[in-house]
């Protein structure tokens, strides 16, 4: 081959290397760049001439230097012929640039290792897509998990609601049928007739309460509630709640009320706050039958106030602590006690509408303390 032909071939080769989209490189045995094509400047924003003679380590992300050194050293020792990996470089403007590195050993005619050569492929888009895919997969899995949990809660609610609706209906029907028999047999003076009317009235009350809770839930879902704060007598409001609940208790238990701090009026929505306290206090009564009476303490401080509801009942199991404010959730230890799993959920929603908080501490079989805190 004549010299002219060789020069022509070299020119073609140079043009080919320059036109390759990836960075084509050569390093010496110390890892200093000795050749870089023009893609280096395009991707990394550094001037090719300025970069030559500088070690490739100095262009790496600081956290990846050790990783790359661990791959480069065995090549220089001759134990590895090539390496391929993904690593972060840093562009001139300080951005991370993910590169897929393919490097192989370069030896001289005597077989001595004189450096490496290979390509750096810009894989930022691949990495971004991969990250986005990973993120999307995580989000999808989370939403599937959430959906499954919600479906389970809803199906629990359907079973629960079915039970809660059907039982009072069965009682009412049996009372109606007995009353019909008394009437058909001209036993109008039968004292049991009155008993059945009372039974039906009680069951209607229970059903109304259940329907009210389910409707409240629906209104919360549709964001129909707004908090209309006004100056209220908190102690008077709590006393009214206590009185209303004491009247409908089957046992003779009452609820003690104590007040700490300087009494004053507070800003709150009386309907929502009374509803929340009613739900928590009726739970305190319901889950502590045959135990000490529950009590409420109101604590006024200069800037805020708390309502602390304490019962000495069955407590909340540890495995239920994170779920107690979820709609429809009922702990394992309350299966035999009537309920919808909506009371604490509604209470929390109404307290949140006041920008307040509600929290609890509980010990199984000892009791529970719910604290409403308002700023």
């Amino acid at each position: 081959m004549d010299i002219k032909q060789k020069e022509l071939d070299f020119l073609q080769y140079k043009t080919l290397v320059a036109s390759i989209h990836d960075v084509v490189f050569r390093t010496d045995s110390n890892g200093n760049w000795i050749f870089l094509n023009d893609s280096w400047a395009r991707i990394m924003e550094f001037d090719v001439e300025d970069s030559i003679s500088k070690p490739f380590f100095s262009f790496l992300h600081p956290d990846d230097v050790a990783t790359d050194a661990a791959l480069f050293k065995p090549m220089m020792a001759g134990t590895k012929q090539f390496c391929s990996h993904e690593i972060r470089y840093m562009t001139k403007s300080g951005n991370i640039c993910w590169m897929k590195v393919f490097a192989m050993l370069v030896k001289d005619e005597s077989g001595r290792i004189i450096g490496t050569q290979g390509t750096l492929q810009d894989i930022n888009i691949d990495i971004q897509n991969r990250e986005m895919r990973k993120l999307a997969e995580i989000q999808l899995m989370l939403s599937i998990k959430k959906e499954k949990e919600l479906n389970l809660l809803k199906s629990n609610f359907v079973s629960l609601a079915s039970h809660e609706f059907r039982t009072p209906l069965a009682i009412m029907r049996s009372s109606v049928e007995l009353s019909e028999i008394y009437i058909n047999n001209n036993r109008l003076q039968e004292p049991y007739l009155l008993k059945h009317i009372l039974t039906i009235t009680n069951q209607i009350d229970q059903l109304s309460e259940l329907i009210e809770k389910v409707l409240t839930l629906g209104r919360i879902d549709s964001k129909a509630f707004t908090c209309k704060k006004e100056k209220i007598d908190l102690i008077g409001l709590v006393q009214e709640v206590i009185y209303a609940l004491e009247r409908i208790q089957h046992d003779e238990r009452t609820v003690g009320l104590s007040v700490r701090g300087t009494r004053r009026k507070v800003m709150a929505d009386p309907l929502l706050l009374a509803h929340a306290i009613t739900n928590l206090l009726s739970n305190a009564l319901k889950y502590s039958v045959n135990n000490r009476e529950p009590n409420i303490e109101i604590v006024f401080t200069k800037s805020d106030y708390s309502i602390i509801i304490t019962d000495f009942g069955i407590g909340i199991p540890v495995n239920a602590e994170n779920k107690i404010f979820q709609a429809f959730y009922r702990a394992d230890n309350v299966e035999a006690i009537k309920g919808t799993g909506l009371g604490t959920f509604i209470a929390k929603k109404f307290i949140l509408l006041h920008n307040g908080t509600v929290s609890f501490t509980s010990v199984a079989k000892k009791g529970t303390i719910f604290t409403i805190h308002m700023n």
């Binding site: 009682i171 007995l178 035999a336």
Partner: protein, 121 residues
Amino acid sequence: MALILLIEDEQVLRDNLKELLEMHGYTCITASLGLEGITLTKNNNPDLVLCDITLPDFDGYRVKIELNKLNYNPPLIFLTARTDKEDYAKAKEVGAVDFITKPFRIKELINRISWILNKKS
């Protein structure tokens, strides 16, 4: 006169059903818990058991399973507010003769009881 054991935790419903069953000529004994129901079955050998599924101590299926184990097999009807297909299947699986959903008419219940008792005799 056939003896019926009614296992139902809801007191008002228990009292009402007992009265209605007695008006229709049956003798009725009652239990409010599953365990109590098993003991009453062992001690009184009823002709038929009416059993709620949701009970405070353990569910109605377990009542039937325990009775099966003890070889006390009076026909058992579940009276329940549960309406899931799974519940119906489970009731069949444990060997209940019928599954009646609350609320029910007493006439319907009496018809089923007399049919089962006639079949038994």
